[in-house]
């Protein structure tokens, strides 16, 4: 089920996340307040361990806050069950992970196709969409390869193609250039520019100044607290 009718896509209020082991308590996010509008290109930056990935995970519905409110497309995610969140992730979120996270048993084409299979789209539509996305990321010739046969940059592009498969209204991108060389990074930045140009709502967690330059909203996470750079 597609969401995203309202103007505000993401809204967080007093969002906190604490990890607790037996005797150690680490507060990763502290009272984070945030609002991202539809079509906005937002960048979250901050030092390693500042909580960028945790924030993206919470927005993406793969983690839950310890306290506070996280509303995405009008739904309070922390109150939802796993089945709702699965549907939410499948139809509304495109997540590009820092470590690419491709499924090693599936070919490149299958990796791009599988989020569409959850939505029970007709096989023909899936095939056409995969071809289109493979062309977009320039990997048509790699469709039948397995992830371990690709370079890091190629895997990153497959991850982008997979994230866009269901044409989600919100794209979350975690450190897209963190593991790439300069040349490959440029290609990824070009892809992000295109997404911005297409009017997608994009939230990127990064250190990369070149991506920061694309941002309409710049946010900095420092010791778990969010500060606006504007």
């Amino acid at each position: 089920m597609k969401m995203g009718k309202g103007k505000t896509v993401v809204s967080a209020a007093f969002l906190s996340k604490t990890y607790q082991t037996s005797d150690i308590k680490v507060e990763v996010l502290k009272d984070v307040n945030l609002k991202i509008e539809k079509g906005e290109f937002a960048v979250i930056c901050g030092a390693s361990g500042s909580g960028k990935t945790t924030l993206l995970n919470i927005i993406g519905g793969i983690d839950k806050p310890t306290r506070g409110e996280i509303i995405v497309f009008g739904e309070e995610l922390s109150l939802k069950d796993e089945d709702f969140l699965s549907d939410y992730r499948c139809n509304n979120i495109g997540f590009v992970f820092q470590a690419y996270n491709l499924v090693s048993t599936l070919t490149v084409a299958e990796n791009v196709a599988f989020p569409m299979e959850w939505t029970r789209k007709p096989a023909d539509n899936i095939r056409k969409r995969v071809e289109e996305l493979m062309e977009t990321v320039g990997l048509e010739h790699r469709a039948d390869h397995f992830p371990f046969q690709l370079s890091g940059g190629e895997q990153q592009r497959v991850a982008f193609a997979r994230a866009l498969a269901n044409d989600p209204p919100l794209l979350l991108v975690d450190e897209p250039t963190g593991n790439l060389d300069t040349k490959t990074s440029l290609k990824v930045i070009q892809m992000l520019q295109k997404l911005k140009h297409d009017g997608k709502t994009v939230i990127v967690a990064t250190h990369d100044e070149r991506i920061l330059a694309l941002a309409e909203q710049k946010l900095l996470l420092e010791d778990g607290r969010l500060v606006s750079l504007e």
Partner: protein, 621 residues
Amino acid sequence: MSVTSFLVNDLLRRKLQTTLTVLGLTLCVASTVFLLLFGDRVGVGISLMVEGRMTAGFSSIFSPFIVFLAFLIFIVGVVIISFMVFVMMSQRVKDIGLMKAAGCPNNLVFGYFMTELLIVTSAGCFLGAIFGIVADNASISLFQSMGFQISQKPPNLWIVVMIFVLFFILALASGTKPVLEAAKIEPAKAFSPTHHLGLAKEPGFRVVSNSGLTFRIAMRNLSRRASVTIRIVACLSIVFLLVTVAVAGGIIANQTTRSWVEKALGKDIVLIAHRDICSRYKLLQSKFYEAKESPQFNYTEGRYLVPDEILNQLGAMHGLSIETRLFIETQIEEAPGFILGRESGSTTYVGDHRKGFSLIIGVEPGKVFGQWFMEGEFLNESNGLDAVIGDTEAQKMFSMPLNQGIRLHNSTLDIIGVCVDPINNGNITYVPLKTLQNITGTSKPNVVMVKIDTSVNRTYVLNQIKTKIGSLNSEFEVFELNEVLNKDLGFLGYIWSAIMFLPLFSLAAASLCLIGYVMLTITEQRQEFGILRAVGAKPRTVVEIVSEQIFMVLLSSYAAGVVFGIIITLLILIPEPVITEYTVFEIAGWLVIALAATFILSLYPALGFARKPVLDMMAQA
């Protein structure tokens, strides 16, 4: 931290894995110990007929069955232990890498994990031996509560010690290889999931592209982890072979042996005889399931012989078939026979002059109600100098019975058949009634057997018989043989049930093994499951993938195990099996239940894992 506390902590940290390995080993040892102690106790199998129960014919089915099951249980035990240790070590590869990266030498790593193996093996074997003895004692109580006398001698501890030592050595031997391999692994490889999870390995085959996504992932995972898949399939195939032999064989053998007893005794037969003869008859029948001494008894005393008026009155009744018999117990002697060499034409004498006591039953050959499972043929009316002997007598006293004779008083009769008969536990000799009357100088029978036609009202006719017999001679009784028949059949049923119960141990051990496999497969695929969940797969998708993997593994092992199990049962273990349509459905039902139970049990780790938070799944194991 001391070495001991490291080992204990390491085992405790993996509670489920350690418990599974110990429990798997315990079940294997317990089932073998119980099987051998039980076989020793009921007088079949390893210590064949130790206490004089079960005829030789029945033992010829029970013995190979128990020996074969024991052999299979033993093999299953070894395979399961080897697999469990393999799984245990596979999950420790990363730890081993860490230890080695920190400078721990190979021999120390090997020593650590061998000591762990030693702890696990000792615990499993010890608990198995204890549970085996407990199960054996429980079986005695169970049989006694059902009215059967089972030997209460203390368990043969040598059997227990032998099984303990054998399993202990085998478990250590089969566990050493995976420990050694794991200890030798290079740290870099141990850390790298690409290496130890086989991530850089292209799937062995491509499944058709339009097959379901979950099926595709499941199949590729199976083929990518070929070594562990082959191990689990081999292990489960042997388990299903064991289950099939025990279940199918147990059901078929039970029906076959039941039909032997039913046919030999006859169904719905009424025995009319003096009350002492009736008691004696019950005693002779009970020797099949209870070892009992039978005091001297004079069968031909005048008061025991059936008066003519009883025979006349019964003969006058409508709807009855009547057979008269003369029972005596006397000494018999083996008469040597000879065989002719086919090519040489020379004569070879077989047999000796062995003597023993036998129950001699004089029957009217054309009228007998019984139909025996036999070698050779039964008596006919034309030849009065023939004899048919029981299977136990044939085994104990004759070398080649069908080529020999039997001396009874001063007459020598030719043995023309050997039959399986539970009465007097197979120590019997059937001879023509007239011959026996001539030999003993007795003119009358001492037993009348009556079969009531199905066309008449059985209860009414039975009451009529009782009234008439009571009025003619109050010392004569009407006794329904179904009572002893049911006792015999009940005994056989309980014995087979106990034997069929054994694969439950192995099935439980196999389920633990499968759970271990599922845990390994989940550990290895957890990150991928996490990715699938992060990209929108529901928890049930993870369960679907794991179920399909388990199902493929189970189905391939099931097919192999069941096919070979049926072949072994029908071609090797049971001569002339009795199989009905109902038998086929019963066997199929039990085997499907076994498959379903194993499948459902093995899903347990997947169900728990599927509900884990996505981030926990995505975290490296």
